[in-house]
Amino acid sequence: MTKKFSLTPYLFLTPALVAIAIFVVYPIFAVFYYSFTDYSIVTPPVWIGLKNYSWLIHDTIFWRSLAHSFVYLLVTPILIVLSIILAIVVNRKLPGIQAFRALFFIPVISGSIAVGIAWRLMLDTNGIINAILLSLGILKEPMQWLAEPALTLPFCMALTIWLGVGYYMMIFLAGLQNIPEELYDAAMLDGCNSWQKHWHVSIPGLRPQITFVAVISSLAALQVFNEVFTLTGSLGGILQSGYTVVFYLWQQAFRLSHAGKASAIAMALLVITLAFSITNIRLLERGTETD
């Protein structure tokens, strides 16, 4: 390695860094500035100090959206449990198991917009779900599934889980296949049954994957938009029942052209995301240390 100053590394870095500077770094500063302005995008921004933030603090819709985003984080533990169970189920040599694995992966690559629109058709009052439940006698009359405020968020979350479980299953499957067989044999000799053996060997062995999935899926949950957008037909649900922070940001910025207010929401989202990532990583690190 030469100690001499060389331009080479910087030349390698330049194209990517320029793109990131324009589309990621500059926007942070711009959003910070816009959040102190009244800005409709068409006319230049006007400095209004902390007005957007005081609006935000008193805005009930923002707090509702924030609460929904936190509720949405429930998808993370559900995803972890479901995908570990599924990974354990598919982690064996059975005829046709490869086909099942591939099948479970299909939602991952299908895209949330197309699938969300398909779900919306199915959950329609005149949809297949009502038809099935009516003919089984579970329902007496068709339900308006997506017009029920209490169900908007759960359906969005179900969609997120349905879209993601195959992906996380594959991650856990790769993790399971790295656990040495001897550990299971030792557990069996110690008198573990097959459930206990997974509890005592598989789960501790999957720690790195659990950390990864927890971080990735909870960050994604805080950013959720497509599921709400498609299942509520871009309206966010009756009585804002499907509003999340990002949905509200989108509505303020791109439906109402309130770039200033939207920027204040974006700053709140940034702070939450940061705080969340830090505690998330801390907690999970502590989890591994006590081991």
Binding site: L17, N126, Y167, V246
Partner: protein, 289 residues
């Protein structure tokens, strides 16, 4: 003697246990498979239903008695679906090629060269990784409208994705596995750094490049949020954005919407089934990276 019967008994019990266990496993697998596949099957069949086949009936009818392409033709007639396809292909391929090139260039010095500011750059990139895309969308939108004037032009959907921090980290990790000796040997031979990178290092990290390309491909093909903001004109829309427009235009026409969904999803599913191993390894292989 007794011992033997016990062993034999034990053996047949184990076999029996195994068969019942497998039976239950297949039941679980099939239930999950039904939940996974059903929406696709239903949309697929619905898209071929003619006016005489009910979309909604009790008891439900899944398979059309009188299958027809009518719905697809109607969708193609009313919306520029061909344009949606070419736009999506153009955007996706451009981003895959340029992003893979730019991130593989950038990750190389971060893994293999000592230079002033390398740590600073690395940590700055790490910090930008958690910036919410919805946040960056606001200034990017304003840039598109006021500065770059590419609002409603297809480039608007491409340029913000020229480099992604995640891909840089993934490739940096891959470069770290390349032995320094190989690179030094190239230097001794007097090859330029760019030559060394292209001729010696890139071939070694090809599997990771494939991973990056596949991740980017799936992400871009399914990307909606940003393209939906900057591509308002019908003929400029990508498939995902066009599909939402179709949903709006075909409000009560489930058969037409279903046809749109099928057209959007099927290319990706075919691609996935052809390159299953690469897809799964690519999308999940990133974890180790």
């Amino acid at each position: 003697m007794m011992n033997q019967t016990i062993v034999k008994d034990d053996h047949s019990r184990v076999v029996l246990q195994k068969t019942t266990q497998n039976f239950f496993l297949y039941i679980i697998l099939s239930c999950v498979a039904i939940v996974t596949v059903f929406p696709f099957l239903w949309v697929f069949f619905t898209s071929f239903k003619g006016p005489t086949d009910a979309v909604y009936s009790v008891p439900p009818q899944l398979i059309p008695h009188d299958p027809t392409f009518e719905n697809y033709l109607r969708v193609w007639e009313l919306l520029p679906v061909g344009r949606f396809f070419t736009n999506s292909i153009f955007v996706t391929l451009s981003v895959v090629v340029l992003n893979t090139l730019f991130t593989s260039l950038a990750a190389y010095p971060l893994a293999k060269m000592k230079f002033r500011g390398s740590n600073t750059i690395f940590y700055l990139l790490l910090v930008t990784y958690i910036i919410p895309p919805a946040l960056t969308a606001i200034p990017s939108y304003i840039l598109a409208v006021r500065v770059f004037h590419y609002y409603d032009h297809i480039q608007a959907a491409i340029l913000p994705y020229l480099a992604t921090v995640f891909n840089i980290f993934l490739l940096r990790q891959a470069y770290k596995g390349v032995p320094d000796d190989l690179i030094d040997a190239g230097r001794v031979d007097g090859a330029s750094e760019l030559r060394i990178w292209w001729d010696i290092v890139v071939p070694i990290i090809r599997p990771s490049l494939a991973t990056v390309a596949i991740i980017t491909f799936v992400e871009q093909w399914n990307n909606f949020f940003w393209p939906s903001l900057v591509l308002p004109t019908m003929t400029n829309k990508t498939l995902q954005v066009g599909l939402v427009a179709l949903q709006g235009a075909f409000l009560n026409d489930s058969r037409g919407i279903a046809a749109g969904v099928v057209m959007t999803v099927v290319p990706m599913i075919i691609f996935f089934l052809l390159l299953q191993k690469q897809f799964i390894r690519g999308l999940t292989g990133a974890v180790k990276g």
